[in-house]
Symmetry: C2
Subunit: 204 residues, 2 copies
Amino acid sequence: MAEKGLLLVLSGPSGVGKGTVKSAIVDNKVFPFEYSVSMTTRKPRPGEVDGQDYFFVSEAQFKAAIDQGQLLEYNQYVNHYYGTPLVPVKKMLAEGKDVLLEIDVNGARKVREKMPDGVFIFLTPPDLHTLHLRLENRGTEPEDVIMGRINQARTEILVMQDYDYAVVNDTVANAVDHIKAIVDAEHVSVKRVIDTYRKMVREN
Amino acid sequence: MAEKGLLLVLSGPSGVGKGTVKSAIVDNKVFPFEYSVSMTTRKPRPGEVDGQDYFFVSEAQFKAAIDQGQLLEYNQYVNHYYGTPLVPVKKMLAEGKDVLLEIDVNGARKVREKMPDGVFIFLTPPDLHTLHLRLENRGTEPEDVIMGRINQARTEILVMQDYDYAVVNDTVANAVDHIKAIVDAEHVSVKRVIDTYRKMVREN
């Protein structure tokens, strides 16, 4: 019985290793999912194919896409825009395919507004997870280092609270195992499967 | 970082194979969990140990436990009472241990009232899952058989909607794999881990 696909959003603080974890999922074929091809205003590099690596568009086209609500999220880096087109993502989900987006926390927040039923995974820095050990062993590190880390942790926890899952990236293999379990579990969650069952008996 | 333990409630229609799935989890040590020892008014059978196989009590003691709200759920079969004592379950969860209860759907409903944060898994009959195939191939089976199965399915779906997960028991190995994924995923769900993180930074 095919349920609608899952929108998996993998995010977390910069430097936490989102890209590495995503690559491990792709390389080891941990679970099947579709790519979302991003839209960008930067020029293609040699070998890059339009519609495959990116949708390459002009700045005017990109801004029109923003205005028409055609982007799930977008961002600007170094004078160029990058965004996730909404229609292809919705089409893949309707076909029952899972879609994986690996984006920064600002992008993830925008995606949550448009697609609240997505599965939002916050990749957690291992030093947030082990911060309690450092706190228990105060004296071995300068107090200002500890206080700086506590303030950073407060910010990370504020962001994390809007996610569904918090996966510690202590090792890539562990993080990937947890993400696989999350995908498996979400596929059998009642909120995702019950409509299919209801439809089956209602139509007879 | 130890979060509070999970209360796992495995239930489903009678005959779906709850006991077999639970035994497979136990025998293959799929994940560690604690047993909840039930309380009963029936007499011990040869070899059964009080406090290990069951807490053996009198009917007066059992009724007193009901009156004092000491049972998470209870039921009566063939003139004997069977129930799940609340205090040991709460103690194990507070110690961060997972507790697995395998009970019927009436018991599960009572547990949900008292412990709404439990993880409720509905073991789904494979013929509910494959009913849509039978419906698509009408004519190969008598119509009254099909209609009887549709009515039964309606009842099962009504019960399922109060659960968190619906796991099809097509093969025991598949069901166990899904339950393992559910346990792994729930352990990294933000709603279960964030209090530990918040406590860590608040106390410093």
